[in-house]
Amino acid sequence: MSGERSFALVLLEMTLLVLFGPLVTGTIQKLKARLQSRQGAGFLQPYRDLAKLFRKSTVQADTASGLFRAIPVLVLAATVTAGALVPVVRAGTPAVPIGDALMLLGLLALARFLTAVGALDAGGAFGGMGASREMTIAPLVEPVLMMVVFSTALVAGTTELGALAAHRGTSWIFAWHAADFLGVTAMLVLLPAETGRIPVDNPDTHLELTMLHEGMLLEHSGPGLGCMLLASHTRQIVTLGFVSALFFPIAVNDAGADGSLVGAGAGGFVLGLAAFAVKILVLAIYLALVESSYAKLRLFRVPQYLAIGFVCALTALALRIL
């Protein structure tokens, strides 16, 4: 078992997540394009978009209040803080108590809430519609994520993600309990909803009838929009990292036993990083496949789809407790 993670390591992991977030989006888009026999934009396109947006000036609606201008920064801050709670290269509790899986879900929910508030504040019709839809979906997703966390946390006796990953250990697949299978399927059902992808949301469209998340970003422009986009890239990689920490903590326990970034830990650090990249890549391929092979569901069919995840999670919990 590994020891504690130093604060510097936590900060470094958080920075890595923010830096590589857009790359994951770029990869998914490239994969989707290839699956549709298109050439597609390069892997680095999201970075170029962000660079372009940060150079531009801001335009905002006359009706928007001062809060509107602060929203992108707040959303980005909440999402990035959530990133600090995900163990990337090593398992183990952080040296400074910063929060657990529930805190992570709470921060993501806070970011979602702030996004919706911003959309309503700007006074645009599409923003309000997107916000109301997002808020319809969110209460169906968040409790299920909680239940999946609980079904794992019951065994480990903690909700701290690093400790959960450490508890699962390196022999993860052999130690999988029946409930873990159901938990992971629940997670796979919910992943498109949480990352705002088909069949729940469509990230590529700006057609008013299909927008959920994009609708809320319409009123933002320039650096503000850049912050919002960076936040959704980060949110995506944080969610993927969250799933892999809960269910596939491969190689995180072998990495840097002393918790330092130099010396003996360096090899382990690289190993942990590579394993993390592979895990994220696998989940990204899954998302790209789902996006390419399913149509977007009608809004009223979404609860039925999410109910599959709900029943799976509840059954997982039942298998653990009863």
């Binding site: 999988w176 309990h177 029946a178 409930a179 299978f181 159901l182 399927t185 069919r301 609860p303 039925q304 789809y305 109910a307 599959i308 709900f310 029943v311 799976c312 509840l314 059954t315 997982a316 039942a318 298998l319 009863l322």
Partner: protein, 218 residues
């Protein structure tokens, strides 16, 4: 393989069986339900093979083989063929909304786990969750039959329900006598064939579906 490992594997397969059952319940199209039930039968065949390997019981190998050939391949194919032949609407027509069915499913699963605890000595004699999972599968199959209007879907429900009985029998007794297992399988084959022919005949003669029989008065 140690007994411990076998029970872990059977438990895991039970979880996957429950997942396929949830898919059957939530399926919006008849084809998806048929594929899910085929996957379920395949998992049961795997469970049979695992138990056979562990106990060295050759009967179980035979049963696993028959399950694979008949229930995972042939019967789904028959159902698929009937659906194509009838050219029916492929959307599921539930009696109550699917979301509500799923809510009932949750209750059934929880009740199955809770009540099987009260079986006392029987429960304690069986390691793992095979018994409650089997009971839950059987009851959920009945739930599918009760909440769907079309005969095709009710067949899928019967099929799934039978899978549950089979799983329970296999996991709990570590292999019943071969003759009983074969009898059970023959039962299902007959039921599905008879129902398939019935559905086709009813359809071609009077052009009515099961739901139409509601208003039938003597």
């Amino acid at each position: 393989m140690s007994t411990e490992t076998v029970y872990t594997i059977v438990d895991d397969l039970g979880a996957l069986l429950l997942f396929t059952m949830i898919l059957i319940l939530a399926a919006g199209q008849i084809y998806r339900a048929i594929y899910a039930v085929a996957a379920q039968s395949f998992l049961i065949a795997v469970a049979g093979a695992v138990l056979a390997m562990a106990t060295g019981n050759t009967d179980l190998w035979v049963i696993a083989g028959i399950t694979l050939a008949v229930k995972a391949i042939s019967l789904p194919w028959v159902l698929h063929w009937v659906v194509r032949k009838m050219n029916v609407r492929r959307e599921v027509e539930p009696v109550i909304p699917v979301a509500l069915t799923l809510a009932f499913a949750v209750m059934v699963v929880v009740m199955a786990f809770h009540l099987s605890g009260s079986l006392g000595p029987v429960r304690q004699a069986i390691t793992g969750n095979a018994l409650p999972v089997g009971i839950a599968l059987t009851l959920l199959g009945v739930l599918v039959m009760a909440t769907r209007k079309t005969a095709m879907h009710q067949m899928v429900g019967l099929f799934a329900s039978e899978n549950g009985i089979f799983f329970t029998a296999m996991a709990v007794t570590k292999g019943m006598p071969l003759i009983i297992e074969i009898g059970v399988i023959l039962d299902v084959i007959l039921a599905v064939l008879v129902m398939a022919i019935m559905v086709l005949r009813v359809r071609s003669t009077v052009d009515a579906d099961i739901a139409g029989l509601d208003r039938l008065r003597g």
